[in-house]
Symmetry: C4
Subunit: 228 residues, 4 copies
């Protein structure tokens, strides 16, 4: 069942590990089969070098395990909240990558300081508020809720990333692989934003027309980056 | 004698080297057999790539060599002090990993600024005071003593790490491998704490209920991270 | 057609990837055959590990594709502007390498703080102004124009690098391989300039006579670095 | 001639490359045969991955080439000045490693902030003054002279490193391999000193008795680090 998707999600998780974004077992990637309404996700706490496609866990959109022998990632409920709300995404990645997490810990959005950022994220990367004490009861689902609260009137395809305050980043994309690529891009722009602010606290944000130009080079009907 | 533990400790030392935490020969991991009261530890000054299980040195809890042909790590007496005082730990690791050592050199505890920290360390990582001049006589044993002095009323299982002022970190765990994982986690949270403080000197510590929630996700009877 | 140059440019692009300067697909290297007036460049959006010489795209100096089955890099028009204006260069590289891009985002030239810099760049590395809104129409060609505007009265052989404000670095050299080496050198001096400024905001620039001495050790008729 | 030393120096240069301290071809290691008064050194500008023992160049203490087909490193005269003045050293290494060079560019000595430093360097790592304009005439020999000027009344065995202002570090040791290890140690302590100063500009230097204790653990007649 869902063998191709399991393979794809397993490969994306291994790619996440190779990218250097995931220390120990801190990171997970999932993918969805929209027709069947089923999500494939990394099992909890398994080292990346041991991961096989058969380890991937299948859950439905309510979180009920529908396949696989292992427990799914503890962050599964957050992934599911994103899949339910963002109907066009096909993959989700969560990491504690260093520089994106530094912004999350500082509870600051990542300003758009250059075209690298604009190529991937259509404006500053937003921060979701920290959970209230009462929200720790259903913690992972509520992590999804504070993200969605922050994304009111934000297009998740134009802004495929969020920082959860005091926690770390979630990214998404058309499939699992793209959600990993967005995690890599997010870490790079976070690292360069930190360096830019340290070198010059008053460095200006990118001109809005350059942000628009770069974003449109890679996204939407007029995109001309990559192969046809 | 203790062949399995020697193998395990050797593997943990090699893992330490692969993790990038140990420059040159600066780092050592040990494990204990509680029934026999014997500790297995890395020999002093041997490059990690040459390490074999047979090189591991066996010492009793008083520091007497009980097996092996090489001299044990110079830090052995510190490891032994921890094993004697913390009856539930099974492995100890010492490194001079960059960011944890930076906090040790600044003689500051590592504040808990995010959930990555809370997942592993139940509060700020403490700093043991620098040794007094008179304490250099029995230096490594006294390094153990200042750590234990600092851990009065601190649960070593909930706080499996310490920074020795002006020196560097020691971590521990249920076995040698877990003590290495805690060294990796410590370095990651130290790196992100430095970055967070540089980006915003006033970044807040994590809310206590979020610290509690994350710590309990991974530790204690209600833990639900990883496989059953 | 141009098989040797395609091989050379492919090798240079793979070298760029191995150097760690190119995240995802963010970076491209080209080379020129001056006799034929043809440029060979990396195709757009292809991962470096998949690159083969046969993928390289051939364009003339007006940007017309003259060989290859893939679309050339979106930055091709910028490369061509440099080849047309700088008659002695044989290769061009564009990256978003972290520290050079940090300076580009801070819109500051990289000061010459040491001999590493002087060995490669004859003075501070200049910043080209950000494009005006009207210049986004022919964006990549205009990126070339603002670079050339900045290089009025600057010798491109003595200063084989530029930062485009809010964007990132371009470097060049006698061939594709040397343009990659200059990108590596630029990143190194940018990283050290950031660290120097953070350690001491008032660190002085290198004495002009030492800049001159080091530059002339490696360049020009009196150079004595390397093999004859 | 000197086949064993050539092999040893070649291995040390390759080790330097593997350590990550040498970008492009920026770094060189040499070793000396004191009986014959001959120095073996890396050839100038040859990439590390192509180095073979047969490429190593033999020079006498006056700089006359006595063997090998390639040109010796441009820094040879500096190495020779150190060998002539420091009769007990057997190897010299020069790099532009990032953090040591940052201190050299800031023209500041590296303070001893912790035991990692004290294990290798008996006090703050000194900075040699920048060369005067007139001294650029015999540049590399004069680089040696300003180092020796700074080492008046400094024991080169207790302080096996120096920073040349605006340039970078030189290290030495009993043989070529140890000079490389000291370059690695220097970079580590420089990196941690930068981080410590950024985290807390007022972080104290290590207590003198701890500096003494750690230095004597590894050096001198009472050393007890490593194997007998």
């Amino acid at each position: 069942m869902l063998d191709a998707l399991r393979e794809e999600v397993c490969t994306a998780n291994r790619q996440l590990a190779r990218s250097g974004l995931a220390t120990l077992t801190w990171g997970n990637t999932s993918g969805i089969d929209r027709e069947q309404g089923l999500v494939v996700i990394k099992p909890s706490g398994i080292p990346y070098e041991q991961l096989e496609a058969g380890h991937m866990v299948i859950v439905d959109l309510d979180g009920k395990v529908a396949g696989g022998e292992l427990r799914p990632s503890t962050d599964t409920a957050t992934h599911l909240a994103l899949y339910r709300a963002f109907g066009q995404i096909g993959g989700v990645t969560h990491t504690h990558s260093r520089c994106a997490t530094i912004f999350a810990q500082a509870r600051r959005e990542i300003p758009c300081l250059g075209t690298t950022h604009a190529d991937h994220f259509h404006g500053p990367v937003p921060v979701a508020r920290p959970l209230a004490e009462v929200e720790t009861a259903d913690y992972e689902a509520n992590t999804g809720r504070v993200i969605l609260e922050r994304f009111t009137n934000v297009d998740p395809l134009a802004m495929p990333a969020v920082l959860v305050a005091g926690h770390g980043p979630f990214t998404w994309g058309r499939d699992a692989a793209e959600s990993v690529q967005n995690a890599v891009a997010l870490e790079a722009v976070a690292e360069m934003a930190i360096g830019t602010r340290l070198l010059d606290p008053d460095a200006p944000e990118l001109e809005p027309y350059l942000l628009e130009k770069h974003y449109r080079r890679k996204h939407g009907p007029a995109a001309y980056y990559g192969q046809a």
